[in-house]
Amino acid sequence: MKIRALIAVLLFAVAGASVAQVRKVVRTEQKYAVNRDGSFVLENPTGNIEIVGADIPHIEAKIAMIFVAADESALQDAQRHAEIVTGGDEKTRRVRPVVGPRKGWNVTMHWNVRVPKTINVRVTSEWSDRIRVNNILGNVYVKNFNGNVSLDNVTAATFAESVNGSIIYSTPRPRGNVVLSTVNGHVTASVAANADFRWIAETGMGDIRTNLPARGAFIGTTFRGSVNAPGGPTITTHSLMGNIHLLASGSSATSSASLRSMPAIIVTPMRSGGSPSMTSQASTGPRVLRRGTINGLFTYATNIGDVRVQEIRGNTEIFTGAGEVVLGAVTGSASVKSDGGPLQLGEILGTLTASTRAGDILVDSTRRGGTIETRGGTIRLLYTSGPTRLLSGGGDITVRQAAAPVNAETASGDIAITLDPLSKSEKIDAKTGKGNVILTISPTFRADIDATIVTSNPEADTIASDLPGLSISREQVAGKTRVRATGKINGGGEKITLSATDGDIRITAGRVGPTVVKPR
């Protein structure tokens, strides 16, 4: 009973207080002149903001000023002391509310602004439920303290920061670098499935998830990698306490995978810290050439020795008679040859020619394709968007994402090739002297398939396809059984030739998942 009475008293008090307060909404419309390549700066401490780019010559702002005062006289005082100040010039138009000393009143301003879509936009706020910027071709800068930030179709350089709010970024093809940072909120970025960019993601307490074919490595809590072809802008996503999602446009977060829980490819670490032109005698090994960033052509040859270079801004030719080669990134073409030793190559923007007489080869990406060859060892290519030939004298060959023709051959080992999900048809040749061939394609991939296995155990070694359209024939050849499957899938397309001896051939419909590389 006491509680009921207390509630009644409180309600009465609140009702009384609200009756006592005076609330008034004042709506106003303003126009500001600005150049098409100018900037719009809005500093609004409190209130929601919506800025939309349009094909208009000037800035059109609709402002709703909501005054709340203790009484009528305070309300009049509020209206006298709150105004919108316009400054700057047509190159940089600055708008901000100016509010005098508040005596028993408060004002919140909600903005709905249409701007020429080519201009740059800069918004700062302290307290708003939401800030939304939409359809802007210029640079965008948004800083908020409380409240969410939503950025749609902002293609140029973008910076968004919030403390207690989440950030949602949705742009099919970013052209400039993007930084999305929050302390207590989540970050969600949506881009086209085939957009090319670098991705940096860091979270202290949350998870990093994506359904795009990202590939990269964790350094502490930060994931650094690339999505699709090497190069492109960098999207940096940072949240201290929340989750980070990088999603394909139109897809759901439920289809994303956690990068932290993903099995990693173990590689030799790229040692850093060497002086730019240091050639040293390692205590337990051959000579090691270590370089940081090299501008221009880089040519190096040694009879015995390792080569480790973080970045080459130009073409390169490297030879070692015996030793491993580790390259971070090459902006030009790369020719890397070792007479023995593993090769670990990062993003190669030009054509790649890599060969070793003994050892594994790991290539992050090659934009223009090339030739990768080992006399014995495993070849792993994470991404290629140019015609690529892969040869192994013995060992597995894995191509994680191919957006171009691939020719892979190994004397003994499995071959696994996954086509880019947006590839409609590519020419693929895969041949193994002993082992399996696994081809993963999208369900809509078109191809003329010619798959053959030669086996001494036809019951165990089979050809299987998730996609219909193949007819299978069998014949005996030199005491072995040759099983051949031919046909068109999805109406036919480029020729795909798959050949395996004493192994299976599998054509599966699937998609490319993220790849995490982990230093040993």
């Binding site: 337990t284 090994g285 015995i304 007489r357 003994a358």
Partner: protein
């Protein structure tokens, strides 16, 4: 008579001297003249005097209130700030509980007093019979199996693929029948990586070419799991050594030696012979390279390598037709070797 009834109605007021003087005088005159009204008045006066002798009892407030309300003398008060008082039943419960205690205690006392007394004796073991060993046979994964129908649940879960069915009746006189078939069902075995059954199962799978496709991926998974020193197991290392020696699939041999390289040296040491064989004669340079790296790892970890191993490494480092990188790695391994 109408006057009589009017006088009798006014008698209570006459009794309390509430009538005005004229009516009072008129009423007394009538009572003195009318016998019936006189008796009635005498009765009133008697009753009134008796009531004066009775003790005065206070009317309960609630009753008084209700009475006054019904009489329309006072308005209904607002009572929502008054919590109605309900008589607590605790004394009743206490009394009931006490009664139960008395009854139970009394019964026990009486029963105990009248019971037969057993004389305490010292316990003594007369004889010991060995406990029968309970036959518990864990389920084995087997190629063929003969089971009793009683040991199988009558429930069939899902739709398992049963093929090649044969009805057999070995002994017509025993009243039993048999049915033999091939069953394809998917098993998921869960357990700690260190459990013997799990280790044996994985070892069997690693050694058998047909069990895992693609084997390279499965080998990668084994490497990730068992390279953790907490899970390292000699049986897994043995299985990998067998693969390294016997498998014709070069990709799988590379994975096997790679996995051995990543196993903790204490476990991998027992596979030294397989590594030396691979280093000596494997046609794939990547296998030889990883074998020499595995041996170098052992040497670096402080494991003592025997003379054979050292000789192989020395020969390899001097072998002119060997890949230079393999020779360099053999030389590096020799640097860290601790001789027996």
């Amino acid at each position: 008579m109408p006057e009589c009834s009017a006088v009798r109605e006014s008698m209570p007021l006459l009794l309390t001297e509430s009538l005005d003087a004229a009516r009072r005088e008129q009423s007394h005159e009538h009572i003195e003249s009318c016998t019936l009204c006189g008796r009635e008045w005498s009765g009133y006066k008697e009753t009134w005097s008796l009531m004066g002798e009775l003790p005065e009892v206070e009317v309960p407030a609630r009753v008084k209130q209700q009475f006054l309300q019904r009489a329309g003398i006072v308005a209904t008060p607002v009572v929502d700030n008054v919590v109605p008082f309900h008589r607590r039943q605790s004394f009743k419960w206490i009394a009931q509980a006490a009664a139960v205690v008395v009854l139970v205690g009394g019964s026990y006392f009486l029963g105990d007093r009248n019971a037969d007394r057993i004389t305490p004796q010292v316990a003594r073991i007369e004889s010991v019979t060995p406990m029968q060993q309970v036959a518990y046979k864990p389920l084995a994964i087997a190629e063929t199996r003969v089971v009793d129908a009683q040991s199988i649940s009558p429930e069939i879960e899902g739709r398992p693929n049963i093929t090649n069915v044969q009805c057999v009746d070995c002994d017509a006189s025993d009243g039993e029948i048999g049915v033999s078939f091939e069953l394809t069902s998917r098993w998921t075995v869960t357990g700690k990586p260190t459990e013997k059954s799990m280790v044996r199962l994985l070892s069997y799978m690693i050694e058998n070419e047909e069990s895992m496709t693609p084997r390279s991926s499965a080998m990668e998974w084994v490497r990730t799991t068992y390279s953790d020193p907490a899970y390292a197991d000699p049986q897994i290392a043995d299985a990998l050594a067998k693969v390294l020696r016997n498998d014709s699939h070069e990709g799988v041999r590379i994975r096997a030696v790679e996995t051995l390289t990543n196993l903790p040296p204490a476990v991998a040491t027992q596979t030294r012979d397989a590594l030396i064989d691979a280093l000596k004669s494997d046609p794939n340079p990547a296998v030889r390279l990883k074998a020499v790296e595995a041996l170098a790892n052992m040497a670096r970890s402080g494991a003592t390598l025997d003379a054979d191993t050292v000789n192989t490494l020395r020969q390899k480092s001097l072998q002119g037709d060997e890949n230079m990188y393999v020779r360099v790695k053999a030389a590096e391994a020799l640097k860290s070797i601790k001789l027996q």
